[in-house]
Symmetry: C2
Subunit: 309 residues, 2 copies
């Protein structure tokens, strides 16, 4: 398999089963992409956090899922919900992003009604990537691996330049924080992962995929993705050919055969976003390495029940 | 009404509805009676934490719910589950209690299967009361009120002495921590609340009750309770006659009429342990002041949905 990446240890199943990865922190318990959510993941001892990086107008990487800062989860300095969809992060300065409060989901929106146990953070700003890296670099957080999703702006006027600049900024921050050995570069945009590998060959790359059959319950923003003539017959082979070490299919696309094929090719297999007890158990049975979930406690519970029975 | 107790402000409903009180911390999200659970409550901005105090053999108040340290939630230093029921806390030294790990529920028990989203704390000791008070006294936790449940040992050879000693120790610690003005003394044992009021008249008293019709889903340990000839026709009147300022009925015993009667008598009304969306909404409709819940995020969500609709 060529180069071995120690960063993948935090994403590879062991005798106790799959690793747990906190999706945008622990969105089932706390608002997404907040330091408090990431800290919750550390407290409960799971292996990794997954989070999303988008560039602001002043070219600061911030940890926000959508390319717009939406009224489903963000209020302005006066406490009023932003429009939904809201302004493009690429057209907001960091100061404008930081003026918003992302500590509560808006129950007047479909998004806000999806996570019915999600608590409130009275005051929470969207963290910068640097904030998350500073958090992760603290000694008490040394056990956390980072699944850093690069969200390439689909409206960038020059995609190649956008990718190169974004990767350069992100990689510089990861290196400066001393977190190269715990970070995996992760994206739907297979093209930006080429750039990431070229600029930072010491970090492994993780390839997100989903087959075009709709994503019930997902809120994936408009995303830069490969423009295949047709979807590859074997997604694991396509990931290996692209140069990846980790494959992250949507859980509806996961089969035991697909996982076995990926393992035979030397890939680590993560899957997202797995929230129901039924699908969590199916993913364990399929033999995936990592389960990315909004409910890390629920995945721990499923694993513990199996161990206890 | 005589004396006004500022401590009750953290338990009294306001225009936004009832206050939220974290039952044993936030048991739906994190193991019960742990500092991490209490810290979660602070992060999400709820008004109060509820917790249980039991005395060890060496007369240290520890924050443990049952009078036994049970294999449903405690492992020994070797990682083996304790028996279930386990040893009596009153016959364990603090060191023996502290040698146990209470950071995970045992999924081989009924208790351990009840909270299916409860995450794991890899290493958690039962806190002493002093640990909890030290936590609460930190400036960042100044918004939290404390609902301190006194768990009188039902097997104490001399109940009067047991009550007097327990109250003396607990009150001394609350005073030393400077937390008299945020603490409410709370018990099923109405007799110990007499003692509490006599020793610490500056703290209000909260009277737990439930009518003898069984407690589905509750795991209340054998408890010292009043030995009425018959259950009072009006529990609010009984609480007032006993000298209390707060009444905490089980949610199945709550009616709009009972709450209105209690309010007319000047009582603050809290109710426990309210976990289902249906019952949370019923409690809000009944006009209770505080909702004690294992799922504080769920109660926040119910309140926010009502405000958004």
């Amino acid at each position: 398999m060529g180069q071995q990446f120690g960063q993948l240890d935090g994403f590879r199943a062991d005798a106790s089963g799959p690793r747990v990865s906190g999706h945008r922190g622990a969105r089932g318990a706390l608002p997404e992409n907040t330091i408090e959510g990431f800290a919750f993941c550390q407290k409960i001892g799971i292996a990794s956090i997954e989070f999303d990086v988008v560039m602001t107008k002043d070219r600061v990487p911030v940890v926000v899922h959508n390319h717009t800062l939406d009224g489903a989860l963000a209020r302005d300095a006066e406490g009023l919900w932003l429009p939904d969809p809201g302004p493009r992060v690429a057209e907001m300065t960091l100061a404008e992003v930081r003026a918003c409060n992302v500590g509560m989901a808006n129950r007047g929106t479909e998004y806000g009604r999806r996570f019915s146990d999600q608590a409130v953070l009275p005051h929470a700003q969207a963290p910068t990537l640097d904030d998350v890296l500073t958090f992760a670099a603290k000694p008490e957080n040394a056990s956390l691996s980072l699944l850093l999703e690069l969200k390439t702006d689909p409206d960038a006027p020059d995609l190649a330049q956008e990718r190169a600049e974004m990767v350069a900024t992100v990689v510089a921050q990861v290196r400066a924080a001393g977190l190269v050995d715990r970070t995996v570069m992760h994206s739907f945009d297979w093209g930006i992962l080429d750039v990431a590998r070229a600029q930072a060959p010491e970090m492994p790359t993780s390839y997100l995929s989903y087959l075009p059959k709709g994503l019930p319950g997902e809120d994936t923003d408009r995303t830069v993705m490969p423009s295949w003539e047709e979807v590859p017959a074997s997604m694991p082979k396509a990931v290996v050919e692209a140069g990846g070490q980790m494959w992250c299919p949507h859980f509806l696309d996961v089969t035991p055969e697909g996982v076995a094929e990926a393992h035979a090719l030397g890939l680590v297999v993560g899957t997202w976003t797995v929230n129901s007890v039924k699908e969590i158990n199916r993913m364990i049975d399929c033999g995936v390495d990592s389960i990315v979930t909004d409910y890390p406690g629920r995945v721990q519970d499923c694993l513990l029940r199996r161990a206890a029975s």
